[in-house]
Assembly symmetry: C2
Homo-oligomer: 226 residues x 2
Amino acid sequence: MRVAVLGTGTVGQTLADALVGLGHDVVLGSRTSDNHAATSWAQRHPGRASHGTFADAVRDAELVVNATAGTASLSVLESVGADVLGDRVVLDVANPLDFSQGFPPRLSVCNDDSLAEQLQRAFPRARVVKSLNTVTASVMVDPRALPAPTDMFVAGEDADAKAVVTDLLVSLGWQRDHVRDLGDLTAARGLEMYLPLWLRLLGATGSADFNVAVVPAPPPEGAAGG
Amino acid sequence: MRVAVLGTGTVGQTLADALVGLGHDVVLGSRTSDNHAATSWAQRHPGRASHGTFADAVRDAELVVNATAGTASLSVLESVGADVLGDRVVLDVANPLDFSQGFPPRLSVCNDDSLAEQLQRAFPRARVVKSLNTVTASVMVDPRALPAPTDMFVAGEDADAKAVVTDLLVSLGWQRDHVRDLGDLTAARGLEMYLPLWLRLLGATGSADFNVAVVPAPPPEGAAGG
């Protein structure tokens, strides 16, 4: 699959590395066509990797990964434009973290809206799927490095788009029965509002390399008395 | 220990039941001294249970549990008053969920503030500890009903108060090494902002009887290559 990864930070490069490793053709997109990080990255992966502007990256892509800073994501997609973005699947892994007032960051949007919904409203034809924003980059691409299966979430309006993303997650090592479809894109509010807790867990565990596993009660018929 | 449980809803009654079961003397507090739910509850637990107004309940308590609706909690504690509340430990299990615009609820406070911080600011001498708000009532009091250990969080300004709450959690069945101290009371923002995700997980799993387990990566020295 031809994938546009938008954003040259740790998340973008880590995802781009992993996608190349899985045999995908990846274009790493950035604001300018001569972005140093993107150029260096493409040189490290001859054959399957290239780089360009955000619009260049999206133009021939089947899947678009938004790995830009959440506070910049809308302007990045605006630089691509609705005509180029079309009805592509947009895997939105970004978090709307605003560090302008220091640490901990606040969310630039939350409660009755989310970044993912903002992107979807701005580009109604695009098929936005929120996922992967609840873990650090290394866990996104190697969930099996954790000592037990943990959970990943998908949310979006388009079932086919969620299926594309789910297959991608499984190819990265996520267990299919631990990929939980949380419904429509309003679920992105909860996924993004989890970040303040995630940041505190980072502080408490001392490492970003963690995730949560959802532990449901056994079904009533199998429940032990107590 | 003499415990005031404020709030006669499912959470309040479930916690009050469990605390009586652990041998504590519990006063279930409500707005009026003749509240039917509180009267009935006390009658079901002769000996260790009584009921009264919020202020009555707090007056002789060593620990105060705020199990009122989050949107009412501040006015409830105001009805108790700073003089009666004093420097008591206040275990705040409430969530500031505003259902006035339907389901899913929005949070009435979030992002740069939290209900727990509002309570703490209003009653500076009280020692507010946020905990238990991330699970449904039945899990609060019986975490061992879940098929694997899951995590509970505490946040607050006062280390002694967090120790009192942690001991109480352990007595309810929470494993001490799964009770995570997330630091000062600003961590309550993340704990309360987790609720929108919790509500989506409720929808996806079909039951409120679940919790999350934090799965950290193994320490580097023990990490497998790969």
